[in-house]
């Protein structure tokens, strides 16, 4: 049962200054998200940088695959490939890529305690321990790989 009254407008008492306003139908305001929203707060900028540096991770993976592919093509091709890699421009570029990789890895590792809640014997393992565990594992893996590459440790 519904009764739409023409008298509705009677009690819209004051003259609304906004001519677009219809009595009892206010227009809500939606704030536009600016293109550079990620510059508004340092935490947003850090987040976007973290996400964009994943490209560096992708690049490093591709580089490794290219390296393997070149090695399969023989020692000559490999020597030429290494020479390209040694050029100053590439070295500088890779230095930047390395920094991005570090940034990405550190920011991701720092998120580990939030994503991984481990309970031992009914008590929650403290965040510091989970974090330390991740860093130790990272360093050990790095040490093993570095040892193998640099000193041929089997």
């Amino acid at each position: 049962m519904s009764y739409h009254s023409r008298v509705d407008r009677r009690w819209a008492t004051r003259r609304a200054a906004n001519p677009e306003y219809e009595p009892y139908h206010p227009k809500w305001h939606r704030k536009r998200v600016p293109i550079f929203w990620w510059l508004e707060r340092p935490s947003y900028t850090k987040f976007i940088t973290r996400e964009l540096t994943s490209l560096a991770v992708g690049y490093a993976a591709v580089l490794l695959m290219v390296q393997v592919w070149v090695m399969a093509r023989g020692p000559g091709a490999y020597e030429r490939f290494l020479a390209i890699l040694a050029s100053p421009a590439i070295v500088a570029f890779h230095a930047v890529v390395f920094l991005f990789l570090l940034f990405h890895s550190v920011t991701w590792l720092n998120l580990a305690p939030q994503a991984l809640v481990v309970r031992l014997g009914g008590r929650r393992v403290p965040d510091r321990v989970v974090l330390a565990g991740h860093y130790v594992a990272w360093l050990v893996a790095t040490a093993v790989v570095a040892g193998y590459l640099l000193w041929g440790v089997p």
């Binding site: 049962m1 008298v7 009690w11 004051r14 009892y24």
Partner: protein
């Protein structure tokens, strides 16, 4: 005018309202249920309750013990048939809430844990850390989402529609658009809470303005026992934020300025290192608040920039107990008083907390107006009598919310569709509300000032201790404010989310309720529970073992009648604590 109709309509979406809505939906799934609330349900004041909810569950406890504690706590003004029904249904209701997911605190073996509470001889207060009301409300709200309930969130009810002697709906303002609507219903249940904002210092939220009580009052339903206003002994100074009774049940002490546990001077027992049930700090709230006033008169309270206080000492409980059982208290003290209760004393003073009085109902939640029901703090059944025991009111929400829901469902199933004459009333109300906006341009009084003056008059005239003189002065003050209220100005005369218009309506509700409180207090010439008359300091069972019923008088003020208390198995006796 937009009109919708439902079978059962709840006014208020707090603990009682949501429990009642679920009860209707479960009792009769064919009924169409709707909830109207002036705030979103999770903002209802149930959310602020901290301490716990009482129900008999441990061996060694009994329904009779719970009943006796409640009746003696209420200074024998409780209707004993209602109390018996209450304690009988309490445990089942609380277990039902547990089944719905409420995160009650547990003992190591997984059973429900209980804590001692003021005025209770056995430990029967279930708790969820110290945010019991929060967890109960969110559990009820989330469970209510299972049912097909229509929610009218942020709609402010301004009038009950009554025709042929039956309540058949309401008129409400939709806050977001300013549009006035009529909602017709075969049964209406009021669950709008109390009216603590009538006083200046209160634990209550801004929204506790007694709107439901005023709606019923203006529709001719009497308000019962309005003179009984509970002051919770431990609220923070300045803000009035509640520091739960659980601090005392876990073992806290109340100390005056000399570090002395002053309650031992007021016939509340001997101080022991561990809490003793029904003794000292675990006495009933009215006696503890009254003890504060006496200490103040003797000059033994501590003076602070925000008034006189005493100290609540929980340091000896230790950090682990505080962080497990009282974490919210620690948070509140750190935030609002800049002190850590693990190491420092908490300044506290009595603040208005709960209205024992309210809309007169029977033990099924039905009021004297057919079709109108009430449950929760808005109602007075009465199970709380002259003084409510802590942790009874959260259980009351469940028990009487369910009862009122079931009773309303039965009533609604038998009714015909609401009649046509209601539209005229609704249009009349729409005109009145339009005039509220129209006629306020040239007013000279500010709503906030009038509200503060009303609150000041009530605190001075109808505080913890009253006498005929202070009450008459308060009555005069309220009458004068009502006159000035006719000249109140509104800065905001728009339609969209006009909270000032709502404040105006709330103030007009509170002024009516203030009159009812003062009239009831003047008429009761005795002292009982929370109503203490210095000019009539004795309890007078001969004349006043009865509830006061305040009927609204058109010219202002109230006509008071008396309704005898229902006594079943516990004849009136002496209220003894600490012995």
């Amino acid at each position: 005018m937009e009109t919708t109709s439902h079978d059962v309509l709840l006014v208020g979406g707090g603990g009682a309202g949501l429990r009642a809505a679920i009860a209707v939906a479960e009792a009769d799934p064919s009924l169409d249920v709707a909830v109207v609330s002036k705030v979103y349900p999770m903002r209802s004041h149930t959310v602020s309750a901290e301490g716990g909810a009482a129900a008999v569950i441990k061996p060694g406890d009994s329904l009779d013990a719970h009943a006796y504690d409640t009746i003696s706590g209420g200074d024998w003004l409780c209707d004993q048939d209602a109390v018996e029904a209450f304690v009988r249904e309490a445990t089942e209701e609380m277990l039902r809430l547990e089944h719905w997911g409420c995160p009650w605190s547990r003992e190591p073996d997984g059973h429900i844990a209980v804590r001692p509470f003021g005025g209770m001889k056995n430990e029967r207060t279930w708790f969820a850390a110290d945010k019991t009301g929060f967890h109960m409300l969110h559990t009820l709200y989330q469970t209510s989402l299972k049912y097909r309930t229509t929610m009218y969130d942020e709609w402010f009810v301004t009038r009950l529609l009554v025709e042929q002697g039956r309540c058949q709906g309401i008129v409400a303002i939709q806050l977001a658009t300013g549009k006035i609507h009529a909602i017709l219903a075969k049964a209406v249940i009021l669950c709008t809470g109390g009216c603590g904002k009538v006083f200046p210092f209160t634990t209550n939220a801004n929204i506790k303005t007694g709107d439901g009580m005023a709606l019923a009052y203006r529709a001719g339903v009497p308000l019962k026992d309005m003179e009984f206003v509970q002051y919770h002994p431990t609220g923070l100074p300045f803000t009035g934020i509640l520091i739960t009774e659980a601090t005392r049940s876990e073992g806290g002490f109340l100390l005056n300025k000399d570090g002395y546990r002053y309650l031992q001077d007021y016939d509340l027992g001997k101080p022991e290192p561990k809490p003793v049930l029904r003794s000292m700090e675990l006495g009933p709230r009215d006696r503890l608040s009254q003890a504060f006033v006496k200490e103040l008169e003797r000059g033994r309270t501590v003076e602070t920039p925000h008034g006189h206080v005493v100290h609540l000492d929980i340091r000896h409980l230790g950090e682990r107990v505080i962080d497990t059982k009282l974490p919210f208290v620690r948070e509140l003290c750190l935030k609002y008083e800049n002190l850590d209760p693990v190491r420092e004393l908490i300044p506290v003073r009595p603040v208005v907390h709960y209205m024992m009085g309210g809309v007169h109902t029977d033990i099924h939640g039905a009021t004297s107006l057919p079709g109108l029901y009430a449950a929760g703090e808005v109602a007075c059944v009465s199970i709380n009598g002259a003084n409510r025991l802590g942790s009874n009111s959260l259980t009351e929400l469940l028990v009487f919310g369910a009862r009122a829901g079931k009773a309303a469902a039965r009533f609604a199933a038998e009714q015909a569709e609401p009649g046509g004459g209601l539209l005229a009333q609704a249009l009349d109300e729409e005109r009145r509300l339009g005039e509220v906006l129209l006629g306020r341009a040239n007013g000279s009084e500010r709503i906030a000032e009038l509200r503060e003056e009303m609150q000041g008059a009530m605190e001075r005239g109808a505080g913890i201790y009253r006498d005929a003189g202070s009450l008459e002065a308060a009555a005069g003050g309220i009458a004068e404010i009502k006159e000035r209220f006719k000249n109140a100005a509104l800065d905001d005369r728009s339609l969209t989310f006009n909270t000032e218009r709502i404040a105006w309506l709330e103030l007009s509700n509170m002024l009516d309720l203030a009159e009812a409180i003062i009239a009831s207090a003047l008429a009761r010439r005795e002292s009982r529970g929370a109503h203490q008359r210095t000019d009539n300091p004795q309890r007078d069972d001969g004349r006043y073992l009865a509830h006061s019923l305040a009927h609204r008088r058109d010219g202002g003020g109230a006509r008071i009648e008396y309704l005898p208390v229902t006594i079943t198995r516990w004849p009136p006796g002496e209220r003894v604590y600490g012995r």
